[in-house]
């Protein structure tokens, strides 16, 4: 009941905001010589650390382009202004932020939100208003489906299954692989399925395909079964809070294989929880600050100098999303939303921090993934796998 009153009050407030927005058409007075870009970031809430990175990277990208004089739009240099709003990684809040950015601030494009959950709440609003949107971090395939105006800067979940299979076959030279995954989670299931298909397509054999459910702590039965099939690689497309238990129990049972995972492993907690047992394992990821590329080194140095910390994947992807957008606006030569949308879709060979990005007319980019190895308790860059 209380909640219902809360929603009503919120709707009333939103309506008031909309009305006041209509009162002064065109938004603020400096609208003519500034390009307004909205950013929907989870600055507070359960993934607040990630939201801070998003804000930092968006601000940094804007400062850089403004320091260079701005974006050249049809012969006129225009400065960029980022309007950054906190969506708290909450669906209702994200919808409000998108409404505000589109109708009150009248931005030309939006970067955000980060999680698939929040983006799924905001993206339909942007789609309806035909405002080009790039989510840096939403990896769920559904986010961009049937939404021509919604793009992403990251690869989609299942792609990592392909990358892991290719790495296991070509770099590790594995012929036999086993899989253990959480059957109750879409992310894990999707990755496991793609890995199995791709590994078999590449001529390998899947010796065991075992499952468990979220909250399980004992994997001994499945691991004993897996051990009996003599795999060379065990693919664990699961989250960082469960993987250490799986690797530890596997080692205790004498399962001598190479362990492999996806970006669900990407947390300092992985090594904290797993300790020495995690040594020599591999996982795929969007980006690594230790990558051997000049674009990454330059970005990491600038970010560190400005914010005093090493940029995470969310920062790198936000930075790429912003620069893809800047380039698209320049190529479009206008601030028309349709022209910008078409220009993003036509992006080809964009040299980003997270690799070379091409959209080829689609809304999901074609881009590489990196493979990291855990060595000395740290994530070391191992190789880049191209699609």
């Amino acid at each position: 009941m209380f909640r219902r009153i809360g929603r009503g009050a919120l709707a009333a407030a939103a309506a008031a905001i909309l009305l006041s927005g209509c009162g002064s058409p065109g938004g603020s007075g400096d609208g003519a010589d500034v390009i307004k870009i909205g950013v929907s970031a989870p600055i507070t809430g359960d993934i607040a650390a990630l939201g801070q990175s998003t804000r930092n990277a968006a601000e940094m990208a804007a400062e850089e382009v403004n320091a260079a004089g701005g974006i050249n739009v049809g012969g006129k240099k225009l400065k960029v202004r980022m309007i950054i709003e906190d969506d708290q990684n909450d669906q209702v809040q994200t919808a409000n932020v998108f409404q505000k950015l589109i109708h009150q601030d009248q931005v030309v494009a939006i970067i955000g939100s980060m999680s698939s959950k929040a983006t799924n709440a905001g993206a339909p609003i942007a789609e309806e208003a035909k405002v080009p949107t790039i989510s840096p971090w939403a990896t769920n395939p559904e986010v961009t489906q049937d939404k021509p105006y919604v793009f992403r800067a990251c690869f989609i979940d299942p792609f990592q299954g392909y990358v892991a299979a290719k790495f296991a076959r070509e770099q590790l030279g594995a012929q036999r692989a086993a899989v253990l995954y959480d059957v109750a989670s879409d992310y894990n299931k999707g990755l496991a399925e793609v890995f199995r298909q791709e590994f078999e397509k590449m001529g390998g054999t899947i010796t065991a395909y075992e499952t468990y459910t979220t909250q399980d702590k004992d994997f001994s039965a499945q691991l004993t079964k897996i051990k009996a099939t003599h795999p060379e690689v065990l693919f664990l497309p699961n989250y960082f809070n469960e993987v250490p238990l799986q690797v530890q129990q596997a080692r205790k049972l004498g399962l001598n294989v190479t362990f492999l995972g996806g970006d669900g492993w990407d947390s300092p907690k992985l090594v904290e929880l797993g300790g020495a047992d995690m040594e020599g394992t591999y996982f795929t990821n969007h980006y690594t600050p230790t990558a051997d590329s000049s674009a990454v080194k330059e970005f990491v140095e600038k970010y560190k100098a400005k914010y005093g910390q090493v940029p995470d994947a969310a920062a790198a992807l936000t930075y790429d999303a912003a620069r893809i957008l800047f380039q698209a606006i320049e190529r479009a030569g206008s601030l028309g939303r349709d022209q910008i949308r078409d220009a993003i879709a036509a992006t080809e060979g964009f040299q980003g921090v997270t690799g070379t990005i091409t959209y080829a007319g689609k809304n999901d980019p074609v881009k590489p993934a990196v493979v990291l190895k855990i060595e000395g308790g740290e994530f070391r860059y191992e190789t880049t796998v191209n699609p």
Partner: protein
């Protein structure tokens, strides 16, 4: 064959864990006829207390175990004093106590999440686990410790309940608390003792569990608590041997279903078997049918 023996060991380890926690359910139920649904969360609290003792005070295994047992017992007694006793004294129906127990469990989960945080914690390895490889069967000293502790505690509890004065008093409380009170026995004290015992068992279970599965989070007690409760019921709730038997049966069904059938069906088949057991023996495997006299 080696695989079968390995799976048997896996089953005994998992069953031992379930049995340890099931003993706590059964003790409290045996005396108070209260299903203490907060027990899984007291188990979690025991593991977290152990985590703090071992991580920040750098205590060794035995000191961590004893320290956690004492502090968790205090927690159990506090819960009894604050949440259960007022209801008992007011003569509230048994259902109210069960609902209160659920509430206490939710409180403990969320209090831990609010103070300690929801992120998973690593329980330090306090015991050097020796591992052997016998013809393809991997043995660890931890497996023996878990199975051994569960057995030892079961025997100790049996002795306590059957052959000591306090055990006699506990059985008397189970039988008829009003008359026992009229005879001059301090019933509250016996009930407190029961909670001390139950919480101590939960703490011991929590510490051993954390050695085997060293990732802690505020919600770790929920699923394990359910399963231990089911184990206690299958064995015959209120019966000490029943908790042990139920734990081993539940652990074995889970492991062997996953071992010889597609692991996706594990919980489904394991629990279907347990429902079947209860259909055939509604009071549990070791439970005797209750005759109600009118």
């Amino acid at each position: 064959m080696a695989i079968f023996i390995q799976q048997l060991l896996n089953a005994l380890q998992l069953g031992g864990i379930y049995a340890l926690i099931a003993l706590g359910y059964t003790m409290v139920y045996g005396v108070l006829k209260l299903i203490n649904f907060a027990h899984g969360d007291i188990f979690m609290a025991g593991a977290f207390i152990g985590f703090f003792l071992a991580t920040y005070l750098k205590l060794p295994f035995v000191a961590t175990l004893l320290g956690s047992m004492v502090l968790t017992a205090l927690l159990g007694v506090t819960v009894e004093r604050v949440a259960y006793r007022p209801l008992r004294e007011a003569g509230a129906p048994r259902m109210s106590l069960v609902i209160t127990a659920l509430g206490v469990g939710l409180f403990l989960e969320n209090f831990t999440r609010a103070t300690v945080g929801a992120e998973p914690r690593n329980f330090p390895r306090l015991l050097e686990t020796a591992a052997w490889d016998l013809g393809g069967v991997a043995l660890t000293s931890l497996q023996f410790l878990i199975i051994g502790t569960a057995l030892a505690l079961m025997l100790a509890l049996r002795y306590l309940v059957r052959h000591t004065l306090v055990g006699k008093a506990m059985r008397a409380v189970a039988d008829n608390p009003e008359i026992l009170g009229l005879m001059g026995v301090n019933v509250d004290r016996i009930i407190i003792f029961t909670f001390v015992l139950g919480s101590t068992l939960a703490a011991a279970g929590g510490i051993l569990y954390a050695q085997a599965y060293p990732v802690l989070d505020p919600y770790m007690g929920i699923v394990v608590g359910w399963k231990a409760f089911i184990a206690a019921v299958v064995g015959g709730i209120g019966l000490i041997d029943g908790a042990m038997l139920g734990g081993v049966i539940l652990g074995s069904t889970e492991v062997f279903v996953a071992a010889y059938l597609p692991s996706t069906y594990r919980d489904g088949i394991a629990f279907a078997i347990l429902i079947l057991v209860l259909l055939l023996r509604p009071t549990g495997l070791l439970g005797r049918p209750v005759v109600k006299k009118v």
